[in-house]
Symmetry: none
DNA sequence: CTGTAAGCGAGACGGTACGTCGCGTCTTGAC
DNA sequence: GTCAAGACGCGACGTACCGTCTCGCTTACAG
């Protein structure tokens, strides 16, 4: 009942020799994207991806040994839709702009669902946790880190504050993602101001 | 292989009439606690809980229809170990104190693992998401909300800042929990200062 | 879905002291009858009987320790509807008449279903097999045995043929019951003639 | 307690591509045979078959969607041990010979137990009943039908008597099987004579 | 030009877990 | 002691995924 059999595309894909078939790769990613979007983390299975992609499970496991790998690949593949790092001269404005478009990215694609899946997966297996911390996070927070560095270089914040502010920003964004509350952007301005702002012991 | 047979306690538990048997309840919770601690979210199964508790699966499902319910029960059962809301007169100090002991609570019990499980589960099923948002979060963030209210009442922060600061605090704590980075408490003081502090547009 | 909750009869039955409550007994049998009729051998459960009868399971197990007992009780309770032993002076006619009304009895009540259940149960447990052979069969074939004895006393058949002919008759009737072919009575006359008839080594 | 752990054969069976593995098939049938023999209809579970065969339940359900299918497969697999259709020129002698060896077949193998299981199963589910009537019976009574046809062709019996005599024969054999009375073969001769014999209205 | 190595769809395999149902036993509290 | 009620331990049900495997095929490239 849950398994829509999906009228397989008549086109028969096959090997193109001793190297990756990009058509197969694309079909797998497309199916994975569609599936995570449609059914979420539960209900996402390699079997079903294979079924929808008309691919062998071996093919999938060859490239993506774990679900974490697959989720990262989905996220990265969507990356094309996502855009530029603002540079308005104001950290708050930069953060608001960036976060707004990031959340839109998370909402409008399967990217958000993929990240939710990646985080969920990381709660269970150490490989996924490692992938999240070592492969996903550094790369995917580089933009914000860049914005914070720029702000530091114009003395808007202290250099020693960068890591903390970054964590706060990631934590907040994840919290909204994980509780499925990305739709309400109204608090964004004040929250980003808070993140960009002064620690209480420096205020006075 | 995965099923450590566990020499069953010779004592045979049974029904005590048409109402809950608290012994069974305790055995189930203890087994669940032990299991989530030992094996994490993956590797946590109702089957194995039942096996270790010497309980029927029906008994478990009767009280905890979903894993989310079970995780919340574990968290709540541990709650005895966790303590008081500091009231030092300084929001930062309060937050640091509270967060320190919360993280210790998360680390030293199965509570942290249970919360990680709950969050992971919420990424897949809407029931778990609802449980997290509507049953877990309001109750479990009441303490910090209280601390923020107190701070507002002595004009340390604005009342309108409470919700935002609360989200920042939750987000940050979850982020550290979910990436398994609770051990490093060194940034706590500066982060809590940041949360307690002034938004950038109010600083001047 | 399969378990129609059945709006319990508002009337609340209870104990009438240290002896059987005939109302409860009747309710249990009625529910059992209804259930075996409706759902057959699979789908017949003590739990469901208790539910429909508004009875405690203990009550049922007190009187009917096994399903076999329950099936026999159903069969016996229906017995009121069933009638007389024909005595036409011709064995064939007697057998046809009797078998016709027996089959009608089996078809129109839950008796047929109960017997099918009893036989099925006897394939699995030795208690049920014993009940079938020692309690059910002798009693329930007494009528036909009587008819055969009468025929022997008027020299229509030999006394030594009684047991064999009885087995043939039971076997044939069971076969039709067990393959759910009771509706077709057309071969009855010729079959009963065959049973009543002469062994091939005596014919000539 | 019920689960005799059975020191698994060190040899690890696995897939041999996308088609049936005959080793697995053999292991499943052997385990099923052993189990029905040992424990009878009650106590026969797909779980236990899988356990003993060292097979996944999926593997079993793939080939034998219902227990009826499995019972038929057991019966058929044993068929190798069972033999020839007698042709002595006398229907009675043929029937006695055939029935004797059939009963021996039923007694000495798991075939008898399997048939008892099949019949029991047919009392509960319509699929099993259909399998019994449409797949099992026609095929498995072909031998006797053949013998009756031969007898008819030499005018020993009438052609119109074939079906009735066949039913009588099946009914009687089943009756003895279902009441676990196959050990006593003494009435066989006179019963088969009765079946082969003349209906009472043709006897003069 | 031919062999070989890898990719590919397919799907069977041994497992584990799911959530539900039925078993027969038990305890309670009312009668 | 009988009754309704229903919790209890147990174990089977049939399904879904897991990650591994083997097959039969295709194609590219190395010798």
């Amino acid at each position: 009942m849950t398994t829509k059999p999906k009228p397989l595309p008549a086109k028969k894909r096959t090997s193109i020799g001793s190297r990756r078939n990009p058509e197969a790769e694309a079909a797998v990613l497309a199916a994975a994207r569609e599936l995570i979007n449609e059914r979420g983390y539960a209900g996402f299975s390699v079997d079903e991806v294979a079924r929808r992609a008309g691919a062998g499970k071996t093919t999938i496991y060859r490239w993506y040994p774990t679900k974490a790998d697959l989720f990262i690949a989905i996220y990265t593949a969507e990356r094309t839709t996502f855009v530029a790092i603002p540079d308005t001269g104001s950290l708050v404005e930069d953060l608001v702009g960036y976060t707004t478009s990031l959340w839109r990215f998370w909402r409008s694609n399967s990217a958000g669902a993929a990240l939710r899946g990646l985080i969920a997966e990381a709660q269970g297996t150490k490989e996924a946790l490692a992938a999240l911390r070592e492969r996903f996070l550094p790369e995917r927070t580089a933009d914000v880190r860049q914005m914070l560095s720029t702000a530091a270089s114009r003395d808007e914040i202290g250099v020693e504050e960068i890591n903390g502010k970054l964590s706060l920003w990631v934590g907040y964004s994840w919290f909204r993602l994980l509780t499925d509350e990305l739709h309400d952007e109204s608090p964004l301005v004040s929250i980003m101001a808070q993140i960009a702002g002064t620690p209480s012991d420096r205020a006075s």
